[in-house]
Amino acid sequence: MKTTRRDFLKVAGVTALGMAAGAGSALANSKGAYLPHYEHMAPGHQHLTAKRWGMVIDTRAFHGEEDFAPLIEACHKEHNVPHLPGKQEVKWLWTDSFHASFPHNHQEFLAERVHHSRYLLLCNHCDNPPCVRVCPTKATFKREDGIVMMDMHRCIGCRFCMAGCPYGSRSFNFQDPRPFIAEENPVYPTRMKGVVEKCTFCTERLAEGKMPACVEASEGKIVFGDLGDPDSEIRHILAENFTLRRKPDLGTSPSVFYII
């Protein structure tokens, strides 16, 4: 193909136009008129970052539902999680018995304290997440920092991820959740009916330099940090304490650890 002078001028003209448009949008950003999506993800000065976010829950420090309640309330309030009774409920953070939480750790003659305790349950943000593997639209995906996220605008509501999750961490909006939010947090989006949701390790708070809501409310009973950094506080705690993960034999490699 021969490049004529006319073709060259055409390409040059279009390129110049594009550059002008780019400069224009950059100008608009400086005025705060439009913030492209990636701006939220680029590490700002307050943005907390990690190679792989993880959580250690010190189950010894929780003595009953009253110890868990502030954490669950903080999470569900922050994220506009609806309060729906019954088997079509939506929950991000909740508790259950040892037997229900660790079904692959059936112990005969379990220590009384362990047997009667409740355990905090949430998305495990697996290093090898089956939910991400099965999702047909990439509506659920794993971020660079290990957090398993949901794009609720892309989710088609097929619920394959709910079948795929070994931890029952996912909830489906069987109905419009908005009438069931007692007090709406205007900073965080509400969901529509027909999409799946779950804990996000508070990505929106990490972006502002804050710890996840449950970690903050736990007053030190939960430690959140970088599993990928051998010198992090969380790695020191893991080195010093015996911990369990839920169903480790499935190869999903959960990022939530429990000190028993």
């Binding site: 079904p103 059936h106 593997r133 047909p136 990439k138 999750c165 029952g168 499935l250």
Partner: protein, 390 residues
């Protein structure tokens, strides 16, 4: 050729009218579900797939009606199926249309359906299921229509028709395999996590699909005075018998592995189906599926007892009865049994039960009526063309 579907007696039009009425009932209920969401179903956080996905699973098998005739006819040149092949292909079209509709009504956000195409995700089995189901459907539409048109014009079908028919054989195997992989690759569902799942899907498909087709062909033989051919019927009955033997045998293999190994996770769902399970939180014994599953087990064995001896198999009334109970047994086993028991016990070893709601049943009725309408129209055309050609 479509005009041939517009020419029928009053029974034909009554039947079409009945189907349209059922479709209207289903459509009305779907509008309600669309507005209010899946809260109108009895699905839950624990049992997140139910009757719709169970029908999808079963009807993928029914689509095997096509390949069980195409394979002997085009690949082995088994001429006696020549007159019936197009019926198998046309029934497969109806079955796949129902499959796709059952996927759509199960979606929480059906308007976003095209996201599966806009954001193709090869690591998801659902993506591949979409490809093979649509591929198999279009192959059957093209091959069925082209071969029928050739017959209408009194010429042999073109060579490319045979090539596409042969291509449709691996596609047919893939729709069962890939649909089985929806289940067999999920880490924490013991009931589904079994290497023999795809083989079970193939076996149950190759008996249930041809069984439904043969029953429908008997109806066509009666109402349209259309000769099926004695040898073809005998051969189909034999294929169904062998496939059902494999189907029951494979289920027996599951029972052995679970109960000889005594690994609790492997046994739980099967125990739930046959005896029910206790919910640890409430102490309640729950087993709503138990009578259905025992019925399925009994009917499956009875159908084999009637199908294996050639004396009973070759007796038409007995054959019809055996096919009916075979269809009932496989429908319970591969539909609700397989899908719902996979969710019981749940991920916390608790028990949440499931039975479909009236909304789910009415919508399903509508979809079955759409499938029946598609098959009726296509078969009507096929019978008219074949009778004119004869």
């Amino acid at each position: 050729m479509l005009e041939k579907a517009l020419n029928g007696n009053k029974y034909y039009w009554w039947w079409i009218g009945l189907l349209l009425a059922c479709i209207a009932v289903g459509a009305y209920n779907y509008v309600l579900q669309f507005q209010h969401g899946l809260q109108l179903t009895n699905m839950s956080r624990d049992v997140s797939w139910g009757f719709y996905v169970a029908q999808l699973t079963y009807l993928v098998g029914v689509a095997a009606s096509g390949v069980m005739l195409v394979l002997p006819y085009y690949l082995h040149d088994y001429k006696k199926f020549g007159n019936l092949v197009v019926f198998g292909e046309f029934m497969a079209i109806g079955a796949i249309i129902m499959c796709l509709l059952f996927v759509i009504v199960d979606l929480g956000q059906p308007k976003r359906l095209m996201n599966v195409v806009l954001h193709p995700t090869p690591n998801s089995v659902l993506f591949w299921d979409m490809i093979v189901l649509n591929g198999y459907m279009f192959l059957n539409i093209i091959v069925g229509w082209a071969s029928l048109e050739a017959q209408k014009k009194g010429v042999p079908y073109a060579k490319w028709v045979k090539i596409l028919a042969i291509v449709s054989v691996p596609f047919a195997f893939s729709i069962h395999t890939v649909t089985a992989f929806l289940y067999a690759g999920i880490p924490a569902r013991h009931f589904w996590l079994t290497a023999i799942m795809a083989a079970r899907f193939l076996a149950s498909a190759f008996c249930a699909g041809p069984a439904i087709m043969l029953l429908l062909l008997f109806i066509v033989e009666k109402v349209a005075k259309f000769e099926l051919g004695e040898y073809a019927v005998k051969m189909l009955a034999r294929i169904i018998t062998y496939a059902m033997i494999f189907n029951v045998f494979f289920f027996g293999l599951e029972l052995f592995t679970a109960f000889y190994s005594q690994i609790p996770g492997h046994m739980h769902s099967i125990v739930y189906l046959f005896a029910g399970l206790e919910d640890p939180a409430t102490g309640q014994h729950l087993g709503v599926m138990v009578p259905y599953f025992w019925t399925a087990a009994f009917l499956a064995l009875l159908s084999l007892a009637l199908l294996i001896p050639s004396t009973t198999r070759n007796c038409k009334p007995v054959l019809i009865f055996a096919l009916l109970i075979l269809i009932a047994a496989t429908w319970i086993d591969k539909g609700m049994g397989l899908v719902v028991a996979g969710f019981i016990p749940n991920m916390f070893e608790g028990v949440t039960e499931y039975m479909p709601s009236s909304t789910e049943l009415f919508i399903s009725l509508g979809i079955y009526a759409i499938g029946a309408l598609v098959v009726t129209v296509l078969w009507k055309i096929a019978v008219s063309v074949k009778k004119a050609a004869a």
